[in-house]
Structures are given as structure tokens and as C-alpha cells.
Assembly symmetry: C2
Homo-oligomer: 71 residues x 2
């Protein structure tokens, strides 16, 4: 798996978890204190997120970091 594929998979995983919680990108971004535009790019797999960004998302979605990157 290359990095681009990894980013894509993690983006998909976040989207999947977010939607299963019925939260909008706007909402989730607000909870995490970042921009919805950045979350959109992240879910689309267009960025290489830092562990701190992923950690904030995992907390907001109430899953473990380990779970979030289990792709």
C-alpha cells in the first residue's frame, strides 16, 4: 500500500465513522477546532494528516486512535 492509498483509506474510515454517528463535516470540524474545508480534504484523502489531527478526530468520534487507523 502506498501513501496515497493509505490517505484514501483513512479518509474513508473517518467518513464512515462520522456518518455512522450522524455528524456533519461541519459539526465534526467544529468539535475538533478546525476548518470544515480541511476535514473535507482529509476525508477525500488529499492530505497526509498528523497524528494530532487524527487524535482529535478519534476523540470527537469516541473511538480509539488505533481504531481510526485500522485500515
Amino acid at each position: 500500500m502506498n501513501i496515497s492509498q493509505l490517505q484514501q483509506k483513512i479518509g474513508n474510515r473517518i467518513r464512515e465513522l462520522r456518518e455512522s454517528k450522524g455528524v456533519s463535516q461541519q459539526n465534526l470540524a467544529a468539535i475538533c477546532n478546525f476548518e470544515k474545508a480541511n476535514l473535507s480534504r482529509l476525508e477525500a484523502g488529499r492530505t497526509n494528516p498528523t497524528i494530532s489531527t487524527l487524535y482529535k478526530i478519534s476523540e470527537a468520534l469516541e473511538v480509539s486512535l488505533s481504531d481510526l487507523v485500522n485500515v
Copy 2:
């Protein structure tokens, strides 16, 4: 857990896994194609690594990404 603590824990986890494999920082860095200096900082918890960096390390150490961030 704050970000600083998270970085510290992930750094410790990497060091733990690396040492259990009997690999030097120098070796691991070379396998991952980055500088030993950066790995040193990462293990010390002084950087906020990207998922791609952690992924390279997980591959080199033959553990899952999920395992690597299971802190």
C-alpha cells in the same frame, strides 16, 4: 491526554518496538528512508509525526499501523 503526551507515548512505543527487534535508530531510519536525527526526535516525542511517517515505521517494524499507535 494532550497532544504532547500523545507524541511522547507514540515515541516510546516506537522505541519499545524497535529495541525489541534489536534494530538501531540508524538502521530503522535507513530502512524508512529518513534521517536518524528525525527518528531520534520522533522517539523523544518532540515532533507531531504524519501518518505517512508512522506508516513507514510500522512497515519497517513489521507491525500494523493500528498496533503502532495503540498507546
